[in-house]
């Protein structure tokens, strides 16, 4: 089931991304963007980066996509017609996309991914270190979120206190600004 989802979610993300750029209605585009964020967030959660997944949900979907929606709703955007897309920009887009793809493929080629590929282990994406045994997850697997919790609350609580003070300022500040 997990492996199936690991294959399905990136595919859905790609499909949603294509629909973002080819959607007629800008609001539909933003909704598919939310779909992209959701699928990528699920994928990140499945490979063990739980904190990043939750961050994607809160920040990307909760703040940025909402911002996009508000802007799109408030502005009077003309609906795009696909057939009217200028073909002048196609070569430039093709060059950019192929260069990015080439750099991604070349990076992946440098990784030695052994046949017992453990999809949870991101260390295989670092070219020079991928030949080492994944010792960190052999004994005790600590979730990403758990590690962050330990760091924030046990190892460095003062940083949490200072961040809390900044949040207090973020609450008081708009009162001062808008009063």
């Amino acid at each position: 089931m997990r492996l199936f989802l690991l294959e399905l979610l990136p595919f859905l993300a790609l499909v949603s991304a294509i629909f973002v750029i080819t959607a007629d209605n800008p609001i539909l585009g933003v909704l598919f963007l939310i779909g992209v964020f959701l699928t990528v967030s699920g994928y990140l959660a499945l490979i063990g980066l739980t904190f990043l997944a939750l961050t994607y949900l809160i920040i990307y979907v909760g703040a940025i996509a909402i911002l996009f929606l508000f802007v799109v709703m408030m502005m009077d955007l003309n609906l795009l017609d696909l057939s009217e897309l200028p073909s002048v920009s196609f070569p430039v887009a093709a060059i950019l996309a192929s260069s990015l793809l080439a750099s991604l493929i070349s990076l992946l080629n440098q990784c030695n991914i052994p046949f017992w590929f453990d999809s949870l282990n991101l260390i295989h994406l670092i070219p020079s270190l991928s030949s080492t045994l994944s010792w960190s997850s052999t004994f005790h697997l600590i979730e990403h979120l758990h590690v962050l919790g330990l760091a924030l609350y046990v190892a460095f609580p003062l940083l949490l206190i200072i961040v809390g003070l900044i949040l207090l300022l973020a609450i008081i500040g708009p009162i001062v600004l808008c009063l």
Partner: protein, 173 residues
């Protein structure tokens, strides 16, 4: 990771004393400092009041608020002074003898030296990271030690010298 060894003028009693211990070991001068600072608050406010031409409308509320602030500040002042005695940074002969007596009494009664805690060893150690020498930064954050932990950074063997029942030297570093 053992706590940092700091060169002190006087013999350290405890680098991370518990809150109740520090408050119990307040000297009379500490209480005097607390009372003085509490009185300083409203006095300073009254001085500032005198510095204005027009009498401000809520003098009573201001005096009460500054008395609260003075009380808090005075307590932090007294706590800081008592803590520095525990660390061995200021003169602490009285506290040293009293601590020796109390700890030996505790050993005779069979109680653990620094109390029992429901937290795990690691949690006790990590709480001591946060609260050790925290009284130095009282100007910004008031962080006290409410945990009974065993890493106080001192050699506890002095409690066991000349005692009838000699346990293994619990050199907790």
């Amino acid at each position: 990771m053992p706590p940092q060894k700091v060169k002190t003028d006087y013999e350290p009693i405890d680098t991370d004393p518990h809150f109740t211990r520090v408050v119990r070991y307040f000297r009379n001068s500490d209480y005097l400092v607390w009372a003085t600072t509490t009185a300083f608050g409203p006095a300073f406010y009254y001085l500032l009041e005198k510095g204005g031409r027009v009498p401000s409308p809520n003098l009573g509320f201001g005096l009460k608020l500054s008395a609260c602030v003075g009380a808090v500040g005075g307590f932090l002042f007294a706590y800081q002074r008592s803590s520095m005695r525990f660390w061995g940074w200021t003169e602490n002969l009285q506290e040293y003898d009293r601590d020796l007596r109390e700890m030996r009494q505790r050993i005779k009664e069979g109680k653990p030296l620094y109390g029992v805690s429901r937290m795990s060893e690691y949690a006790q150690m990590s709480s001591s990271w946060m609260s050790r020498y925290a009284a130095l930064r009282f100007s910004a954050f008031p962080i006290f030690n409410f945990v009974n932990h065993n890493n106080h950074g001192v050699d506890t063997s002095r409690y066991y010298k000349d005692l009838e029942n000699d346990d293994e030297n619990e050199e907790k570093f």
